[in-house]
Amino acid sequence: MPETLMADKAAFDVDKIRQDFPILSQTVRGKPLVYLDNAATTQKPHRVIERVRRFDAEEYGTVRRGAYRLCEHATQLFEEARQKVADLLGAGDKKEIVFTSGTTQAINLVAYSFGRRFVNAGDEIIISNIEHHANTVPWQVLCEERGARLKVIPVNDAGELILEEYEKLLSDKTRLVAVNHVSNALGTVNPIREITEKAHAAGARVLIDGAQSTPHMKIDVREIGCDFYTFSGHKMYAPSGIGGVFGKMELWQEMPPYVTGGDMIMTVTLEKTTYAPPPARFEAGTPAITQVIGLGEAIDYLNDIGMDNIARYEKSLLDYGTRLLSEIDGLRIIGTAHDKAALISFALDAAHPHDVVTLLDQDGIAVRGGHHCAQPTMARFGVPATSRASMAFYNKPEELDALAESIRKVIKLFS
């Protein structure tokens, strides 16, 4: 094991962290579970599991409506969680946080609502070649509906956005630039502050898909300057079915509702409805109350460990894993950006990713094989699919040793 990693190990007690996650002590086919699909979804710490249980068992009630005790208490906890999200993202005002089911719904909300208000025929939206389908398809649909055009920032062979090309795409027709902070397929960390500055200089707004970044690094939306920033709870140790989007209040105020119904109104008569101010305007219906409480607890947990500590430890894991996998003949790492999150996508000469995944599973190792909902990224790198090992701060270097050993077995089996 490299010395730097050992030094980090002393500062970051991963064995102690692992005890917080009940699922990590289980075995798969008689072997210890090695969970390396964290970019898909993350495991839950005991604290979150217990908080959700206790809320449902002892504190559950609807929010924002009733005047009785359970309701008022649940509403208070719910709004406290919104404040925790605002603090985590560096938002100035918790009213700028709108809860959704996750990043997919968050981007759909912005595409629909921002699109209806601000995008017209002849306008342009810019995405990149390495976006998740969730940050691709909503913009394609919007462009088709509004008669706008979708433009795409190309990437170099390392999987980094080519900023000179990006600058050429920007013009006074650009209404919005929508890119991810971290690519789910390659791990590339994009220079979103620079991307935002250039977009603003051209008069365009910016949405950052933060699904893959919020679990791994400190975020400050005011420092980034972006207009929207999305996240998914289940990728950051919280329950599934909850996520959201930060948006600048000046924009939220201008935007029409996405989903309509109860809770998002000011007054309703049979002739006309006036809408509630943000964020309620964008949160029709009873929200995912329990999940929001769980999200708040997950954020407390992350803050107790410290996002900077998490980022530092995961970087050492990435460096160690990259070195291990680079030493394997017949393995090619797809995505070699200078700035990367702890995620390694790879292709083997000998075996298809689906065979790799099935065989690694025999050793209790959970990785993802497929196109990662990023088919344009796969097409750019000339592969139908990749295998992807994505790490979290509860992973150990020894698990990456096990991964490398199992990959060598696959190669041997297929040779």
Binding site: R29, A351, H352, P353, H354, D355, T358, L359, Q362, G369, G370, H371, M378, P384, A385, K409, L413, F414
Partner: protein
């Protein structure tokens, strides 16, 4: 070290490494293109049918995919030579139900022969389409589906 599983057996690995009948067929009477859009498996199956006897004279294929899909297609092409169209459809039905876990060749009379090798796939529901793509494409060819077939 080896894997303790009944899926990646030597025969399957061998057919993946050296697929049989892996070429186009100029004189094919039927052909079809099949894709599994979720994993990118992409094959074309060519069939040469003797019209008078309704017998398959030969089957070949081209394309790319995972080991399971390639081995399944390769074994299928070997297996079908000399079979009647009716026999081919019976085997398709048995094979399909076997990989879904609805038909156990160890307990029921069957016509699967070597194809029983793929019985282990019933333990891997996410991989059944890898094994069945070849057969769906074959049936697409026999049914003259010019638009091709997809597992989705």
């Amino acid at each position: 070290m080896s894997y303790d599983n009944e899926l990646y057996q030597q025969v399957i690995l061998d057919h993946n490494r050296k697929p049989r009948n892996f070429h186009e067929m100029d004189h094919a009477t039927h052909q079809c293109h099949g894709v599994n859009p979720l994993c990118g498996d992409d094959i074309t199956v060519y069939v040469d049918v003797d019209g008078a006897s309704q017998t398959i004279r030969g089957v070949s294929f081209t394309g790319s995919g995972c080991a399971i899909s390639k081995a399944s297609t390769s074994l299928m092409t070997d297996f079908l030579k000399g079979k009647t169209l009716e026999e081919a459809r019976v085997v398709f039905s048995e094979f399909h139900r076997m990989i879904l876990g609805e038909f156990d060749p160890a307990k029921e009379t069957n016509h699967l022969g070597k194809l029983k090798l793929f019985v282990g796939i019933r333990e891997y529901p996410s991989r059944t389409k890898c094994a069945s793509l070849a057969w769906h494409t074959l049936i697409g060819a026999l049914d003259k589906k010019t638009e091709g077939v997809s597992t989705e």
